[in-house]
């Protein structure tokens, strides 16, 4: 594998950090400039990230090593296919989110917007750092940056509920981080390195029992962020955050970062061979499937729209993990692709929920009857995304579902295929009523006076994301080669090329 | 017997030290505590000086005009030097402690620890 040294990863990272500082310095008085920073940074970042795609598709790895942190581990950015995949997604969606959040925050006349945008940019910094991290330690650094910078976002409303939501968020994530430190320590003391390696580097170190415990610790640690089932509690609670934050939390940065980390651990730390040797893949897959089903069922019961979306997120994250833990090429491809697919679709859903909130201050599913009339574009996008989540073609969700199912058979585990299908069914079951109620049910006690869409700042990102989730379903390799990258990852992780 | 004669000096130092300690623990009066602290410090000096002593040797001042100076003939001067320093430190601490006591008295009008603690409550 060819290694290219370049400062691009660093550049991409620093863009958002610099933007954050500029935002802070610009402050409340020059709002347009402040938001301009956000947007410009998002654009610049995206183009830097995209500019790395050709090289990575050629099988090269872009590296940028900064300082050595301790023997064998340095602050290193290493853009491989997987990292680039996540980075592309994150930076892409940041553009959408930044446009959207401008509309949202202004629409609600929110307080402390500077803090909001600052933390937002910083969270993206963290997410990209996670994506580009060349070793577990660097990854963890940015993981924590992400955690901390998201806390003010969750608690943004400054109400009691928001603050306690933020507390819960921190409590869960920091506990998880503690476990990660532990497992990272064990890994380091076993191997003396933390550099990611396709196919893992733990093979041949430590006893089976220790490795199993280690794996459990890793998964529990990163799993908190990925909201794996017994550790998911923070996520619905964190729904008190403003919607762009929820979108960020669920679609782009935080939980995806958790999943990304879990996948890194599975594919690049333990490696498929070791995991299947220890029979751990199947265990994780079982846990993930349990999460998939339970969260789907629970989503059905939620009346708060954002909370329902939250459970849906839990569901989909578990699907991604399930895919990776099946350890077969198609499943991994599908799982990774689902990171992007779900990203686009879920962000659409959240955006739509936010747009509804901004316009009508409605948050409950049962109150949304007939809203499709007044906000047709928003709700159409919602419908597209919701169906995509259920894996209906031509949305991007279908591609991932297909490959995940294929993968579960390749792994010889037909049970998980049924889990996936069951989850698709559940998806329909909890999104379907929203769709048809919003479009076809007559509003009760409330007059919708014609077309009443949110501001263009919000509608355009919504529609764009919905359109993209269709586009990526039809052309999975459009623009940024999501699918190719995903399959490249699977190939290299499984060592088939 | 040999053991006792050989070590009793050390034992006395231990006794003094324990007396000092006892004062510091058991006495409520800050001045008494201070006295205890001083006894404790002097006991250490006693210990050091004891380590320097040498049977059959004389004080560490070289006789005038002595040619070949044999180490056996003079008491080990090093502990003395150390203890001079220690005494100075002791007296310095003591001075500061008295200053502190006066400040405390200025504030609480008592030097009884329990009264001060009660006052603070």
């Amino acid at each position: 594998m060819e290694v290219v040294t370049s400062f691009k990863p660093l550049l991409a990272l620093s863009v958002s950090a610099i933007a954050a500082l500029l935002i802070l310095l610009t402050g409340e008085r020059r709002r347009n400039l402040r938001e301009g920073w956000t947007f410009a940074a998002a654009l610049v970042k995206f183009f830097i990230v995209v500019s790395m795609i050709p090289a990575v598709l050629d099988g090269k790895v872009i590296e940028c090593s900064l300082v050595q942190l301790f023997p064998g581990v340095s602050l290193q950015f290493r853009v491989d296919a997987f990292g680039l995949f996540f980075a592309t997604l994150a930076s892409f969606l940041w553009m959408a989110t930044s446009a959207y959040s401008i509309g949202y925050m202004r629409g609600l006349r929110s307080h402390a917007q500077t803090r909001f945008f600052f933390c937002f940019a910083f969270a993206l910094h963290g997410a990209l750092g996670i994506a580009f991290a060349g070793n577990l330690f660097t990854l963890f650094i940015f993981y924590e940056i992400l955690t901390v910078s998201t806390f003010p976002l969750v608690a943004h409303k400054e109400t009691g509920e928001a603050i306690s939501g933020g507390r819960k968020y921190l409590a869960y994530l920091l506990s998880g981080a503690a476990l990660v430190i532990f497992s990272m320590g064990v890994t380091y003391s076993l191997t003396g390195t933390l550099d990611f390696k396709s196919g893992g580097f733990l093979q041949g170190h430590g006893s089976d029992g220790l490795l199993r415990v280690l794996f459990a610790a890793f998964i529990l640690g990163f799993g908190t962020k990925a909201a794996l089932m017994p550790l998911h509690e923070w996520l619905p609670t964190a729904m008190v955050a403003p919607t762009p934050v929820s979108a960020l939390l669920h679609a782009v940065a935080v939980v995806k970062a958790g999943v990304f980390c879990v996948l890194r651990v599975i594919l690049y730390v333990f490696g498929p061979d070791l995991l299947s040797g220890l029979h751990l893949g199947i265990v994780l897959a079982s846990f993930a499937s349990l999460t998939v089903l339970l969260s789907g069922m629970l989503a059905l019961a939620q009346d708060n729209l954002k909370r329902r979306l939250a459970f849906s997120t839990i569901n989909n994250l578990a699907i991604i993990i399930l895919g990776a833990s099946l350890l077969s090429p198609s499943a991994i491809t599908g799982g990774i692709f689902h990171i992007a697919a779900h990203g686009f679709m879920k962000i659409t859903l959240f955006f739509a929920a936010g747009a509804i909130y901004v316009k009508t201050h409605l948050e409950k599913v049962s109150e949304l009857d007939g809203i499709g009339k007044s906000m047709p574009i928003t709700m159409a996008s919602f419908a597209v995304a919701a169906l995509g989540i259920a894996g209906i073609p031509p949305m991007a969700g279908f591609i991932s579902k297909w490959y995940l199912c294929l993968g579960s058979l390749e792994a010889g585990q037909i049970v998980f295929l049924f889990v996936l299908l069951g989850s698709a069914l559940l998806d329909i079951a909890y999104f379907g009523p929203i769709i048809y109620h919003s479009f076809f049910k007559k509003p009760v006690g409330r007059q919708h006076c014609g077309l009443d869409e949110a501001s263009l700042w919000m509608v355009i990102p919504i529609a764009a994301c919905a359109a993209l989730s269709i586009l990526f379903g039809i052309f999975p390799n459009a623009f940024v080669h999501f699918f190719d990258i995903a399959s490249l990852v699977a190939k290299s992780a499984l060592g088939t090329n | 017997m040999e053991f006792i004669i050989g070590k009793y000096n050390y034992w006395i130092y231990i006794c003094l030290m324990m007396i000092g300690f006892y004062a510091m623990i058991g006495k409520r009066n800050l001045v008494k505590k201070l006295i205890g602290m001083n006894i404790f410090q002097t006991s250490i000096i006693l210990f050091f000086v004891s380590t320097g002593s040498k049977k059959g040797a004389t004080i560490p001042i070289v006789e005038h005009g002595a040619r070949a100076v044999e180490a056996v003939r003079y008491i080990n001067p090093l502990p003395h030097v150390l203890m001079l320093t220690a005494i100075v430190v002791m007296v310095s601490t003591f001075g500061v402690a008295l200053a502190l006591l006066m400040m405390i008295y200025r504030r609480y009008h008592t030097l009884e620890e329990d009264e001060i603690l009660g006052f603070r409550k």
Partner: protein, 572 residues
């Protein structure tokens, strides 16, 4: 030279333009699309085209052979009529959904691999669900939801089957399947669309709930694609054959019991699909021809029936037989076309149903399946009976309370057209034979024995109806179908999810929250536990409480010294 595109694209892409048009141009545009489709069809050449590389698969979007071409022609032509019929509908969404629906079924028809087949299959399911929902009433919303769920389940089965097949054989090309888990699952998937027996419930549940125009589209595409898919993959499958027989009978029996006009027709769809399935299941050239011919015919007269009933509902607002009657005078065109359709479906000589049923029956006989043959014949009797019932109670029985006028031109025009087509194909079966997948090797529809047999049946059945008219008179019963169990199941499961399961979640959540809260409380003053007063309340932290006399610290120091020395002296 214009290269043909997959017809599906015309409709699917075309659908997205609809919202931007208004009034007449829109109507023209809507009619233009099927015409374009026709042109496209005529440009098609046999063979595989439009093979595109998608991810790791070679997708065939245009697999043209006689069967698919037949289906394409049928679909587009019926689609054209249906569009014509629904031209007055104002809501863009409905048009979009209908066009998507049409397009995706055409996609299914022309796809040469399972991947794209499934792709279109799912779009079809969702689009059709929207058509149902567009009636915008509570029952239709719920029914549509159930419909969608059923199809997702079916789609899931299909997907599983396809993936199993892909994994085991490595190819995704559509081809006849043999036994095995994969084929079973695919069969279940197709069968659900084709309303195989225990899986048929969505059909009578949803179709009557759709909009008037919507149910026409519905009746055209979903089941027929199912049949088509069966023909592609399962021709000659015994199970399919006998399932077809059973469906034919079952549908008829339930149809007889219905009160709702469109529900009655819906059950008939099951029955008719049963015929086709039987034909395909038998798998000889004749039977397949018969099946496909029946499919085409069925489309015609079933569409016609839905249109007829649709205009009745449209004009009167009533849908139950018990509420209808005496419309023959008020809506003559509708009445006549409906009668023609009824005759066609019953297989009266001279109407198209006669031809295809004849082909089916004789193929059964030829291949030596008397049981099947008799099942179909029996179903045929039922069909006749039920349509007699329908026509009688809708048009001819007395009902003075009803007010109605004839339907508008855009509705009657297609009805008349289709009625004429029914007659045309009935009288000149060659027209039909020319588009069949297999060359019709010397089959003659109008053999005397066949005609006589049919007439005998009719006579017998007709007399039964006249004699026992009372027994056939419509009732507003609730008729138990498998449906009941599914709904109960759904209800129970849904109730479980929203009830106990969620309660558990809430309970767990409240535990965790209270845990966190307690921790937060405790974290404010963890020492409160030590200072808990007698009444069990946490006291506020008081630093003086912990300020012990300094002697204690000294004591600690000396004790530590003691301990250290003790441990060291002992351990060394």
């Amino acid at each position: 030279m214009i290269n043909p595109v997959p017809p599906a694209f015309i409709f699917i892409l075309g659908a997205f333009l609809v919202p931007f048009l208004k009034g007449r141009p829109k109507q023209a545009y809507l009619l233009l699309l099927p015409l374009l489709g026709f042109i496209d069809l005529f440009l098609l050449t046999m063979g595989i085209e439009w093979e595109i590389r998608f991810l790791s698969y070679d997708l065939v979007l245009l697999n043209v052979d006689r069967l698919s071409l037949t289906m394409g022609i049928i679909f587009i032509s019926v689609g054209l009529l249906a569009i014509l019929y629904s031209l007055r509908v104002k809501e863009n969404g409905q048009h979009v959904a209908a066009l998507l629906y049409m397009g995706s079924s055409l996609g299914v028809v022309f796809s040469g691999d399972y991947f794209s087949l499934f792709f279109f299959w799912e779009i079809m399911a969702v689009a059709s669900a929207f058509i149902i929902w567009y009636r915008k009433e509570k029952p239709s919303l719920d029914a549509g939801f159930r419909y969608l769920l059923m199809h997702i389940i079916g789609g899931g089965a299909l997907l599983t089957g396809i993936i199993l097949k892909v994994v085991s054989t490595g190819t995704i090309a559509v081809e006849p399947l043999t036994a095995g888990l994969a084929s079973t699952l695919i069969l279940v998937g197709f069968g659900l669309n084709a309303a195989f027996l225990p899986l048929h419930t969505w059909l009578p549940d949803a179709y009557p709930e759709a909009t008037v125009t919507g149910s026409i589209f519905l009746s055209v595409f979903t089941t027929k694609t199912g049949v088509y898919a069966l023909a592609r993959s399962f021709s000659g499958n015994e199970l399919v054959a006998y399932m077809g027989g059973a469906m034919a009978l079952f549908g008829v029996i339930y149809a007889l019991l219905q009160n709702d006009t469109r529900r009655l027709i819906s059950y008939h769809i099951i029955s008719q699909v049963g015929y086709m399935a039987a034909g395909i299941g038998v798998g000889t050239a004749l039977s397949i021809n018969g099946g496909v011919a029946h499919l085409a015919n069925n489309l015609l007269y079933k569409t016609l029936l839905f249109m007829g009933m649709g205009s009745v509902i449209h004009m009167t607002g009533k849908r139950r037989l018990t509420e209808l009657g005496g419309l023959a005078g008020k809506m003559p065109i509708t009445c006549i076309t409906c009668v023609i359709a009824s005759l066609s479906i019953s297989g009266a000589p001279g109407f198209n149903g006669f031809v295809s049923k004849g082909m089916l029956l004789s193929s059964m006989a030829e291949s030596g399946r008397p049981l099947l043959e008799w099942m179909l014949r029996l179903a045929s009797v039922g069909t006749f009976l039920s349509f007699t019932k329908l026509c009688y109670f809708t048009f001819f029985s007395k009902n003075d309370r009803i007010q109605a006028r004839e339907a508008p031109l855009n509705m009657t025009l297609p009805m008349v057209t289709i009625a004429l087509l029914c007659l045309l194909t009935g009288i000149y079966p060659g027209l039909l034979f020319s588009i069949l997948p297999h060359a019709p090797a010397g089959y003659h529809a109008y053999t005397p024995s066949h005609i006589i047999g049919v007439l005998q049946l009719f006579l017998w059945a007709g007399s039964v109806f006249i004699l026992a008219r009372g027994a056939f008179s419509p009732h507003s019963w609730i008729i138990l179908d498998f449906d009941y169990f599914y709904r109960r199941g759904f209800q129970w499961v849904g109730g479980f999810f929203t009830g106990p399961l969620n309660e558990w979640r809430l309970r767990i959540q409240s535990w965790s929250s209270s845990g966190v809260n307690h921790l937060a409380l405790l974290s404010r003053n963890p020492l409160g536990l030590l200072e808990m007063t007698a009444d069990g309340k946490l006291r506020a932290y008081d630093e003086n409480f912990y300020r012990k006399p300094m002697g204690l610290g000294v004591l600690l120091a000396i004790l530590l010294l003691f301990l250290y020395s003790l441990i060291y002296l002992i351990s060394s």
